[in-house]
Subunit: 353 residues, 2 copies
């Protein structure tokens, strides 16, 4: 859905890289994150200041190959180094479906997936993943375990004004962001972490060194340009050289899509989607209801396997069991191209029992 916007922006976000540029492993040897392009760091600080969605003062910025790599780096950094057993990693269900498999993929002796944070009762250190707004269900989240030996990772990939009201700058110990959800550039594989503790930051950087020896310079250069355009367009509230602001565009598209989705859901009477409480967004200076990047659909009545049911109606969705909850739920992307989205709501609205 973001392609349209970037086409309107035109050549302002075109990158040109010569054969002899950005050849080195290194970006800035004076920074602990030696593989972070200084211009990208500046635009990250700037976009958070413009949007008001995260505190960057007193934080170390770490770039990653998408926020996935930073999630793994955070697990590595937060695990006790010589613990008697792997530290438990938990998240409130429904949780992002890749957390369990990413955590347990290598059978690490440092950390281990321990499931739904709400039913977690073990003593000792643990890591809680707080995704807010949440993937898959779009709800605003806080930590739920709240014990002294816990450390928190805040995955804020969707904390942008097209998806949810920006009520205040997030101010946590370790926060993750990514261009794939903020600007739509998933193919760049660029994410960043804002980290308060120096030792944690150093361990995360060490992980990225051992994992991929840094992060693509080419994509960092491109992400710099795209984030700059987001900030530039936001600072010219109405129109930016004839182009509307990025968040006005993306807020409008999401609002239209959620309207169409709710109409389709209501007309079918088989499904429901969550209702979200409206809140004031300091950035857009208006009150609105969250309009998440995913539809978290529930099959009502006696349909127990919503994923299979929808597949029978040519709608691809991911079933609730992947997210640690009932198969009556499914997650459907709200960010596809217009044609695919329109086909989805059309098919959904015509399903009858």
């Amino acid at each position: 859905m973001y392609e349209h916007y970037w086409q309107q922006v035109g050549e302002k976000t075109t990158v040109v890289i010569r054969g002899w540029q950005h050849m080195s492993y290194f970006s800035d040897v004076s920074n602990i994150c030696w593989f972070l392009e200084p211009e990208l760091a500046k635009e990250i600080v700037r976009v958070h200041r413009v949007v008001g969605n995260a505190v960057t003062e007193g934080r170390h910025i770490i770039v990653g190959t998408g926020s996935s790599q930073l999630f793994l780096a955070a697990l590595f950094a937060l695990s006790p180094r010589d613990g008697p057993e792997p530290v438990s990693v938990v998240s409130q269900a429904p949780f992002y479906s890749s957390y369990p498999s990413m955590t347990d993929c290598l059978k690490s002796g440092l950390y281990k997936w321990a499931g739904d944070a709400q039913s977690y009762s073990k003593e000792g250190p643990y890591i809680e993943l707080v995704t807010s707004p949440n993937n898959p269900d779009g709800n605003v989240r806080r930590s739920v375990v709240n014990r002294s030996e816990g450390t928190l990772v805040h995955d804020l990939a969707y904390y942008w004004p097209q998806y949810t009201p920006i009520s205040s700058p997030a101010d946590h110990e370790l926060m993750l962001f990514t261009v794939s959800k903020s600007t739509g550039h998933a193919g760049m594989r660029i994410g960043w972490a804002l980290v308060k503790d120096l030792e944690v930051a150093k361990r995360m950087i060490k992980f990225i060194e051992l994992n991929t020896i840094g992060v693509s310079k080419d994509s960092q250069v491109r992400a710099t340009k795209v984030l700059k355009a987001v900030s530039d367009s936001s600072e010219h509230a109405g129109s930016w050289e004839g182009v509307e602001s990025f968040f006005k565009f993306s807020y409008r598209v999401m609002a239209e899509r959620w309207k169409l989705l709710r109409e389709a859901v209501n007309s079918s009477r088989i499904f429901s989607v969550p209702e979200y409480p409206p809140a004031h967004c300091n950035f857009l200076n208006r009150v609105f209801e969250p309009q998440p990047a995913f539809a978290w659909l529930k099959c009502e009545r006696d349909i127990d396997d919503c994923e299979s049911f929808l597949r029978g109606h040519k709608i691809l969705a991911r079933g609730g069991k992947h997210f640690g909850v009932s198969p009556k739920y499914v997650r459907v992307s709200m960010l596809d191209r217009d044609n695919n989205f329109n086909l989805f709501v059309k098919r959904l609205s015509t399903i009858l029992l």
Copy 2:
């Protein structure tokens, strides 16, 4: 050292990427490696055909965030899934200094570093890493354990004609390459694996999905252009639109540097470097001695800690113990910019006991 060449090539390897291009996670959903750009795959096959350094027929191509990520993907893919204990990972000393820390970083239950392959005598499955030409010492390598339950990973990052004679196309089960050593573009973080077995390839792809959800599209686009230039320049043996061929340039620079290095080593009488047997290179159609990307210096006489000794003479090098051998050895890069390389040989030649 490669910057000079790419400056000569000029705009032919410039990439231009618009804001709306390459936004998706996906490159080719019809390929098992769904995040591999099809044009990059073509240029990988082509450059190996032009140079004659690897067989690509009957191989699956997997792109990675540098060959580091592919090395980890290979460990994941080759480890028995439900073994009673982690599989042993070995390599003949001196071995690449990052192998132990990369392997043991997460205390994986799947694999575990087990040291020098020459002294490895355990029964059961193992993974042997064969780096040829070897990092750090430049020697041509073969597997040394040679037992039935072993699997091999061939790290062929340096098997290019500027470093070593290309005697025949490498034809192993799992081979790793990277642009950082072939064309000098370390900052791209692009490597590739050539993999015979379909199930191993699928597991490697799964690892990259869980690790970084694919590989930067921007860098893949750029690597495509650079590899194309390498092949184009090679096919115009003498001159390619006024520019010499990539391997003629890089072979010549390495030959000059090794001549200067050997002169400096001889004049100091404190050091030695390995002698390499000459061999015929099918690509350059000449006989030459290997001229590795690293100088593997040995401090003779009673200098036991070569790294500290050189640091005292303002030469930064990595000591032998990192590579599993005596601290009388150090590794020094031969690929730095001209000024730094010249300073290195000058300082080396003037060290007197």
